[in-house]
């Protein structure tokens, strides 16, 4: 399993070169590899659906026992098949669709990286590894939406997708870490997904926060209300991207994670309820918004939002088989429709479904893909979409009580609107008249029509004969979510669904009738809808815009306030912050007085030394001549040197004496041509600075006293002194530390010195060039 991810990454690295060397046909090779990987996963089908998940570990940091564990169960197998299978067809499609684009190599590289990340995401059995892949899909998605980066709108929408999913990602990170802590209890965080302990999480006080944060992360990725607005905007991406990322895979990452955590979290109080509530709202809102639009991809995007809502809702309802069926059905028909939409837009030269007419006369193969995909989207028998919709309605009704009635109405309404949308996008432009009839239009080349027709046919075949792999996959998928084999048999056969007539079937038929009716009267309906959605300017997208605007504006204000270019205000801020932090930390210590050191003996000499230092320090600030200040400074230096002599550090004393002398020499050499010791500041400003300085001074004093009184560990220097003679053959311990124990440190310090000297040398000897001199 690791190999498949690595192969895709390797392919991504090679793709740009491949395209340059062998041109368009590189796409065919890449697509073939991707389909071969699909084949490999398909060959594991038997093992996994028999109820034996495959677990593989690749060691990563063996010394820490960290490995990357990949898990292939029904859930991840379904996703892996969709990612690689649809990915392969999309790559094939791209070789024709973007064949002439100069960015083809870049496109392949990004798309393959995305596929690898997505595979890693669904296979990872570790929350952190999963999260890394999760973020990678956000980043690659950003790059793909902004593929046409010279268009301003593409950049804007790419940013929007990145900001929304990125913020969600941050919430998710916090959520899964809290989850791991809650699950691990006293033994430390537990990041392995399969080892998460539902009981421990239920008991933990962190549970609520972790569930909310995780849900925000998943909702933002899967475009669930109120984060739904980024997905339609992401349609700036080329059609293959929309087909793979924004219908079949990436947006389903949120759904995937919800499904993956379902066995762990379904006991949590508001987990299931929020899934149902947000899912149903998204379903309805997405379906309604889809009917507002006439552009191919916008319409399909809102329809995808609706489908994502359905999936989230189904998981919340505990209808795992329905979720699995709908997920597979949706991936098949939506990817197909997106690809056909891309081709149709190319050929017709417009994306307005209302304008295009009789496109099917020229697109002799793609029209069938559109029709079959559209029927599956509409949920008409015998397509697999029908089974998905029937199971959805049934699950809604199973909720019981008032909830069942509300859900049934919502699902029925959404279904009717989806029928409308599907006629609009898949039937109208191809088979009905319209003002815009492209002359001389030709069907696209085979790589472009092959993928859609395969996907569309698959939707029909699986609908007619679900026993061909569909049933075991759905059962195995459901078992992953339930944590145990499903109790009820999965019934996807048309015979079960159509006979005897049932309430779901009735709702379904009604939805189709209403959908067709709405389509007939679409112009009055649309104007009504436009009025209804007038509140959209207060919607989430405007909120997002306002939020971004406010953030940028406040960043500007903050930057102007803090980064005002005045060194003194920087220093003030730094000093005040440091003072406040240390003061607060000191206030939090219990029984501060117990840490204070004892006063000890005091000799007149000590007092003299201290007074010298104090008096020199104060006079250094007051004296109005430079030389006086320098003299005061060296007074301090010499006093400290004397202190070193008295307290057992002759080395330090010698160095201090030498350095003080040298500094005086340098000052004297330089300063007599410096400006006079001017007083620039006002009295007020001086007073403020005195307060700030005294604040820091008192904090430093307190800190020093506290540090003197508290030794928490035996100093390392005991060892250094004990080993100086036996191991390091030196009797001057300070020197042994400098040149032996901490020699690398000293090496760094002499380098700093060398750099300072070179700096001085350069400042004094390098002069502006003659031209620069002349222009002054």
């Amino acid at each position: 399993m690791h190999t498949t991810v690595l192969i895709l990454l390797l392919l991504a690295a090679l793709a740009p070169m491949g395209v340059r060397v062998i041109g368009k046909s590189a796409g065919l090779i890449i697509a073939t590899v991707s389909l071969a990987i699909t084949g490999w996963y398909a060959s594991r089908f038997g093992i996994v659906t028999a109820g034996a998940p495959i677990l593989e570990t690749m060691s990563w940091v063996p010394s820490l026992g960290v490995g990357v564990e990949f898990l292939l169960d029904g859930l991840s197998l379904t996703f892996a098949l969709l990612i690689c299978g649809i990915g392969g067809l999309v790559l094939l499609y791209t070789s024709s669709y973007l064949g002439d684009s100069p960015g083809l190599g870049r496109f392949y590289a990004t798309l393959l990286t995305f596929m690898a990340s997505m595979l890693g995401l669904v296979l990872a059995n570790n929350l952190i590894v999963m999260f890394i892949f999760w973020e990678l899909t956000s980043i690659t998605s950003f790059l793909l939406i902004g593929f046409d980066f010279h268009r301003e709108s593409a950049r804007r929408c790419a940013w929007q997708a990145l900001v929304v999913t990125g913020l969600g990602g941050l919430c998710l990170l916090a959520g899964i870490i809290l989850l791991a802590i809650a699950s691990g209890g006293s033994t430390g965080p537990e990041f392995a997904i399969r080892e998460l302990d539902p009981g421990a999480i239920l008991d933990s006080p962190l549970a609520g926060a972790s569930v909310i944060l995780t849900l925000i992360g998943c909702f933002s990725k899967s475009a669930i209300v109120p984060f739904h607005f980024w997905l339609p905007n992401a349609m700036e991406a080329p059609s293959p991207v929309s087909a793979l990322l924004h219908s079949a895979t990436m947006v389903k990452a949120g759904v995937y994670l919800i499904a993956r955590l379902e066995p762990t979290l379904n006991e949590q109080r508001f987990w299931s309820d929020s899934l149902v509530a947000f899912g149903a709202t998204t379903m309805l809102l997405g379906a309604a918004l889809a009917t507002r639009h006439v552009a191919f991809k916008k319409l399909l995007a809102y329809s995808t939002v609706s489908s994502l809502g359905i999936l989230v809702m189904l998981i919340g309802l505990g209808a795992y088989a329905a979720a699995a069926t709908y997920l597979i059905a949706h991936a098949l028909f939506k990817a197909c429709l997106f690809l056909v939409a891309g081709t149709a837009t190319h050929i017709a030269g417009t994306k307005d479904t209302e304008a295009i007419g009789h496109l099917g006369r020229s697109m002799k193969i793609s029209r069938w893909s559109a029709l079959l995909g559209g029927l599956s989207l509409a949920g008409v028998a015998p397509f697999i979409g029908f089974a998905g919709k029937e199971l959805t309605i049934k699950s809604g009704l199973n909720a019981g009580g008032l909830e069942a009635i509300l859900l049934a109405i919502a699902i029925g309404l959404a279904a009717a609107l989806t029928v409308f949308a599907s006629i609009q996008v898949a039937f109208k432009p191809f088979f009905m008249p319209g003002p815009h009839k492209p002359e001389h239009a030709q069907e696209a080349t085979w790589p472009e029509w092959l993928g859609p027709i395969i996907l569309a046919t698959l939707g029909l075949v699986l609908g007619l004969a679900p026993f061909l792999g569909m049933v075991p996959l759905v059962e195995s998928f459901g078992a992953s979510l339930a944590g145990a084999p499903l109790a009820d048999d999965v019934t996807l056969g048309l015979g079960y669904l159509l006979w005897p007539p049932s309430i779901p079937l009735g709702i379904s038929v009604l939805a189709v009738v209403i959908g067709i009716g709405l389509f007939m009267g679409r112009s009055p309906y649309r104007s009504l809808l436009a009025k209804t959605f007038a509140w959209d300017r207060f919607g989430p997208e405007r909120t997002y815009d306002r939020l971004v605007g406010t953030t940028l504006a406040s960043a500007q204000v903050l930057t102007n306030a803090l980064q005002n270019g005045s060194l003194r205000s920087y220093t003030r801020i730094i000093v005040l912050t440091a003072t406040a932090c240390v003061a607060l930390a000191t206030l939090r210590i219990d029984a501060v007085a117990s840490y204070l050191p004892s006063f000890g003996a005091l000799t007149p000499f000590d007092v003299m030394l201290a007074l010298t230092i104090a008096a020199s320090a104060v006079s250094a600030t007051m004296i109005r001549s430079r030389l006086g200040a320098i003299a005061a400074l060296s007074g301090i230096g010499f006093a400290i040197a004397v202190y070193f002599v008295l307290h057992g550090a002759p080395d330090l004393a010698g160095t201090q004496f030498a350095v003080e002398t040298l500094i005086v020499i340098i000052f004297v050499l330089v300063t007599h041509r410096l400006p006079r010791f001017a007083r620039y500041t006002t009295n007020l400003s001086r007073s403020i600075d005195i307060v700030i300085a005294l604040g820091l001074g008192s904090v430093v004093t307190t800190l020093t006293l506290l540090a003197m009184g508290s030794t928490v560990a035996s100093p390392v220097s005991d060892f250094q002194a004990a080993e100086a003679v036996p191991s390091a053959y030196g009797r001057n311990v300070i020197n042994v530390i400098l040149v032996d124990y901490r020699a690398i440190d000293t090496l760094g310090e002499v380098f700093v010195l060398a750099v300072a000297a070179i700096g001085v040398f350069t400042l004094l000897t390098i002069r502006p060039s003659r031209e620069a001199e002349a222009t002054r």
Binding site: P650, D651, G654, T655, A658, V659, T661, L662, I665, I666, L669, V670, R673, A728, Y729, G730, R731, N732, I734, N735, V736, L738, V739, D740, A743, I744, T746, L747, V750, F751, L753, A754, A756, A757, I758, V760, F761, L764, T765
Partner: protein
């Protein structure tokens, strides 16, 4: 600073201070001293000389440019870490051999001492480079 006494004193002090600095360097591992203070003392000698007599004379007595001292010192300091690498030990781990110098048997000679020589040269070079450049420009 044209005081004759000062000039004479500087002429006498330079060799004394150089000798003292070498003593500091050599005995630094066992008694107070070491490369840092040694380098500073030697530098003070030359600076004193340059102030009292003149700069070109002082430069001439140094024989090499201070920059050369810095680079040589850094090189020596780095190289002193290499022997440990050769026997597969961490960079800069001290290595010692016993040598016989001027009749003293069993004198320990090791890479930390070599390192200290490097430090001595760098400190000397740094201080002189700063002081000489400044004097040249502003005196």
């Amino acid at each position: 600073m044209n005081s004759v006494i000062f000039q004479v004193a500087a002429r006498v002090l330079l060799p004394v201070m150089l000798l003292l600095s070498v003593v500091f360097l050599l005995r630094g591992h066992n008694e107070p001293g070491g490369g840092f203070i040694g380098g500073l003392v030697a530098a003070s000698g030359y600076i004193l000389y340059a102030l009292a007599v003149n700069l070109p004379e002082s430069r001439r007595l140094l024989h090499v440019h201070p920059r050369t001292l810095i680079s040589t010192g850094l090189l020596i300091a780095i190289l002193s870490g290499v022997p440990a690498l050769l026997v597969d030990q961490p960079f800069m781990k001290g290595k010692w051999i016993e040598v016989t110098i001027a009749g003293f048997e069993g004198v320990k000679f090791g890479t930390p001492f070599v390192f200290d020589v490097g430090v001595y040269l760098v400190v000397l070079g740094v201080t002189l480079l700063m002081a000489f450049t400044l004097e040249e420009r502003y005196q």
